[in-house]
Assembly symmetry: C2
Homo-oligomer: 243 residues x 2
Amino acid sequence: MRFTSEQRLDDGVLEREFTLGEVPGILWTPGSASAPAPLILLGHPGGLHKMYPRLVARARHSAAEGFAAATIELPGSGDRPRSAAAEQARADLRRALEAGEPVDDAIVDRLVLPLVEKAVPEWQAALDALLPLPGIGGPVGYSGGVIAIGTRLAVVEPRISAAVLFAGSFVPRALFEEARRVTIPLHVLLQWDDEGNDRQRALDLFDAFGSKEKTLHANLGGHTGVPQFAGDAAAQFFTRHLS
Amino acid sequence: MRFTSEQRLDDGVLEREFTLGEVPGILWTPGSASAPAPLILLGHPGGLHKMYPRLVARARHSAAEGFAAATIELPGSGDRPRSAAAEQARADLRRALEAGEPVDDAIVDRLVLPLVEKAVPEWQAALDALLPLPGIGGPVGYSGGVIAIGTRLAVVEPRISAAVLFAGSFVPRALFEEARRVTIPLHVLLQWDDEGNDRQRALDLFDAFGSKEKTLHANLGGHTGVPQFAGDAAAQFFTRHLS
């Protein structure tokens, strides 16, 4: 892990950009930390630059609760090399959505499954690099982003103790089997009128999760319309489980 | 309205039993109130004595937020005269549940619709009597109990500004039409594994509500298993809308 830039934000949060091999990422740590901070991994749909305003807002929110936050670029997004197969699947998906057609499971599989396969080990490598840093302790939470990545991480990565998942992306059928193996506390956000999301499949996925503590917060509005109070509730979930 | 008893609870909350005509009720007011308090109407499934431990816990929780709380007995419950038709419907419902049969809509209608017709004007009369009392101001919230009563109240009673509804009781088909006319902010609790509740109908009802702000909080567990943090979240909803 190599830090490439460092700046102090106006609320005292330290923001550091890094690269981990060829994967760029950002780490935010609270300005005043007496003890090593728990860490929240900030998931996103890909494209660190485009997502930066929302990511930094979530990181500041986390820092105010005493948590460090970190994110890395997804494979095939931002400045990372594209995969021809993923680009083809994305084009097929766009075409189906624009035509108002139901999205074929095969397209979702071609788009999401290779992404999960590549991304999950990278998030695990990021954890390997981040947790030994001074000021960062644990436990670790995973928040948002592609729900298939969050689900796989929750299954395979024992250092993650709790997750906020966003039921706002396409869910491969194969994910339901994995969902049953998730046992950590989950807080699932669902935007009731999300244009690009199948509500029934999101509810079925919530039902499938094996966790003893799981909560679904459904709110009115589209994909990017998560209300402020729903963000606050997700933050409280982490405070309850990571503090 | 006639007060029949008065006691100060250990946390300073003043508990007063009253009768309003032939309807018994209980009013709780915060120990220290500088300004007139908002009022939360505490719904319940019927049977004030049996429900008292849970009601007083909810009232203390409300008082700690600076809210007064009040409840009245439902028609046909507790010490109030039984209705032969309602008792018959209740027996038919029990028989269907014990036999593991789907509950016929006609049974739900016979049980719930007359209850709504009688109960709603009584809650409105309680508001008439409670709001002029010293120390009680408004706005008013309605919380829990039979969801058909809460829904009707939200439609017909303009003094109610926000409601926490519990999707844990049978929903007559006719209620869906009313639900579309609800416009106040709603916070709906759903116990995902509620034995006596049709989950799909609860989700359909949430979908039907006309409110621009509506949130569904679904949690694992059965009818009486609402987790502590879900109660806290409902309290925060009232703090946001009634304070």
